[in-house]
């Protein structure tokens, strides 16, 4: 994509909190085009009408609403974005995409940003969200299907979040909603092959 145009960004733009304009954060030149390539979304189309934020169910619990995330990506604010809670709070409900006047699926951008944050070693601002996603995928990797009991146990252990919802879990268990033994599919070798594949462009 536009290597030339964005290469010059780094030398030109610094941003900071208003009071410290002097020692502003430098910008990764490839940020915007990389995010566009990973998300397959044309982020430049955003003219910041905020309709996505206005309709986003979890925006109230984000540090930046989805529109702000798009704007920060436009402005090449890599650290801010990849350290944000916002990217982990998106639940992928696709409400933003449904309503965006410019057809941008902000949720897909959020996903690309999560992946980028992980790959580049940014500590996730919502660690438990990441731990749960990982345990969910682990379950698939082991059984081909999700086994709640082992997944939840591991999640509780790894997230350190031992006590929340214990009663809820117990109630579910007692109603026989959480099977003890996992279902394991026959085609596990293919599943494991899929897991072994690194997604293209993410090596």
């Amino acid at each position: 994509m536009t290597t030339g145009a964005t290469a010059s960004l780094s030398s030109a733009v610094r941003t900071s909190a208003a009071s410290t304009a002097g020692n502003a954060q430098r910008v990764d030149p490839s940020f915007l085009p990389t995010v566009e390539a990973l998300s397959h979304e044309n982020i430049r189309r955003c003219y910041y009408c905020l309709k996505c934020t206005a309709g986003c169910p979890t925006a109230y619990a984000m540090d930046y609403g989805p529109a702000h995330v798009l704007k920060l990506v436009q402005l090449g604010q890599k650290d801010k974005v990849l350290q944000s809670k916002a990217i982990w709070m998106c639940v992928g409900c696709e409400t933003c995409w449904t309503r965006c006047p410019n057809g941008i699926a902000a949720g897909h951008v959020m996903d690309a940003l999560k992946q980028m944050a992980l790959r580049e070693g940014y500590a996730p601002a919502e660690r438990r969200v990441l731990v749960l996603h990982r345990q969910f995928l682990t379950s698939i990797r082991l059984f081909g299907r999700v086994h709640e009991l082992s997944m939840l146990a591991l999640y509780k252990l790894l997230s350190g979040d031992l006590f929340t919802d214990l009663d809820l879990g117990a109630r579910m268990f007692l109603r026989g909603k959480i099977p003890i033994l996992p279902e394991r599919i026959k085609g596990m070798s293919k599943i494991q092959q899929l897991f072994a594949k690194r997604p293209r462009g993410q090596e």
């Binding site: 030339g4 010059s8 610094r14 941003t15 208003a18 430049r44 003219y47 702000h68 402005l75």
Partner: protein, 452 residues
């Protein structure tokens, strides 16, 4: 008294920018005489300074030159350039205007416009037409395509007038047209109606100290940037910054420089800047592929046919970066111009180390317009824009019967609106003249008579 004489079916149009030219052509092509007065040596006004026009990117010269040429050659249009109206008396049907022509120091009746004098003249000064982005000679035409294509001598720059030396142009002129003794002349013209189309000038950016205009050479105004983009401009369309002639790789465009600032400058919106800034940023990117363009704005005002789409094209295809917020400060740092702004959308402060800064100054009426308005008794608002009778339903009529307004003289306007308004003013004049010259022939059949 006036009733005794037949009203005069001739119009005086003051100002020969696109508004004046359009009105002149509409009226002259309808069979009536036009006196077209312009204070510059040649006609075309602001539009002739432009590079390409939004939203089609037509080259301004290409679409305007046919009109200037047509007006220049029209048998019913009398051009009075390098001239100003110094007095108007009379009433609708019988105005008498006194037009003063400045001394050109060249006898235009014999001058062939060969250009030899300009070529040989040794004195160069910053060209106001090029907004000081280039130089012109002391004897000059505004552009090689000037109508009329006759030069004038800038007496403040010419060394003969300042130091009593040179007279080189006189020596080289093959037809002996140079006349250093030429005096201002006044002419009286009798007309039945008047159209004021004196257009606009730019707000004095020196007043906005925080932007450094006039102090930092690489801070220029939008019209200067037009000249840099123009194929017939001083750099032949190449973007070069004034300080060292380098191609700027980072350009910051600052909108609302003096507009929408009720406390510090003008409270009103200048209407055209959003669109021409989008165009500037876009054309800059077309010329400098590896450059980056930032636009600082308050609201993007792209209201007009295909304007919103044009703005989208700037952001999407040409990758212009829009930052919502006014710039706080511009200062020099080495050979760079540092811009401090903030992005109100993300709440982040933004600092850009730019190579060049382009300000979009507020549009203000010409100071001379005020004098005209006073002579004619036409009200103006506090900023000097002339007031029509009613903004909504009488947009070109004035309190003074027979006097009409066209273009930016009433408020900031873009070209299509100006052209429409100029034709509207022409319609009012044509209506009057038609009444004065009698009902057109063969009009006696009652309308709708043939309806079955």
């Amino acid at each position: 008294m006036a009733e005794d004489r037949a009203p005069i079916t001739r119009v005086l149009i003051i100002g020969a920018g696109i508004a004046g030219i359009q009105a002149a052509l509409d009226i002259a092509n309808s069979g009536y005489e036009v006196v077209l007065v312009e204070k510059e040596p040649s006609i075309g006004g602001r539009m002739l300074q432009l590079s390409e026009t939004f939203p089609t990117l037509d080259c301004a010269q290409c679409i305007l030159t046919p009109r200037t040429v047509e007006a220049g050659h029209h048998e019913r249009i009398r051009l009075m350039t390098f001239s100003e109206v110094i007095a108007i008396t009379g009433e609708i049907g019988h105005f008498t205007a006194t037009v003063q022509r400045k001394p050109a120091s060249v006898n235009w009746d014999v001058c062939t416009g060969c250009g030899l004098c300009q070529e040989k003249c040794p004195t160069k000064v910053a060209s106001p037409f090029d907004r000081a982005m280039g130089k012109r000679k002391a004897i000059y035409t505004l552009s090689p395509q000037a109508v009329p294509n006759k030069p004038v001598i800038d007496r403040e720059a010419c060394t003969w007038f300042t130091r009593g030396k040179c007279r080189l142009c006189e020596k080289v002129c093959p037809v002996h047209a140079i006349d250093y003794e030429q005096q201002a002349t006044t002419t009286q013209v009798e007309v039945g109606a008047v159209i004021i189309a004196t257009g606009y000038t730019l707000y004095g950016l020196e007043n906005l100290g925080e932007y450094g205009y006039g102090k930092i050479p690489d801070v220029v105004d939008g019209l200067a940037f037009e000249r840099l983009l123009s194929a017939s401009g001083p750099t032949a369309g190449k973007v070069r910054r004034p300080s060292d002639g380098k191609e700027p790789k980072q350009v910051v465009f600052i909108q609302c420089a003096g507009s929408r600032a009720p406390e510090t400058a003008m409270p009103y919106c200048s209407k055209i800047c959003c669109m021409y800034t989008a165009k500037h940023a876009m054309l800059y990117k077309h010329r400098v592929h590896d450059g980056t363009a930032y636009v600082f704005y308050i609201d993007v005002r792209a209201a007009g046919k295909r304007y919103e789409e044009f703005y989208h094209r700037a952001t999407e295809e040409d990758r212009v970066i829009y930052v919502r917020g006014k710039v706080a400060r511009v200062f020099r740092d080495g050979d760079q111009v540092v811009v401090w702004g903030s992005d109100t959308l993300s709440g982040a402060s933004v600092e850009v180390a730019a190579d060049m800064v382009v300000l979009a100054p507020a549009m203000v009426p010409h100071p001379e317009t005020q004098r005209l308005a006073e002579m004619l008794g036409i009200p103006a608002n506090e900023y000097g824009f002339l007031l029509p009778l009613d903004d909504n339903i009488l947009p070109v009529e004035t309190t003074r019967p027979g006097v009409f307004l066209a273009g930016a003289v009433t408020s900031p306007k873009d070209i299509p609106e100006t052209v429409a308004q100029a034709s509207a003013a022409a319609a009012k004049v044509l209506s009057l003249f038609a009444q004065w010259s009698g009902v057109p022939q063969a009009m006696e059949t009652p309308v709708g008579a043939e309806a079955s």
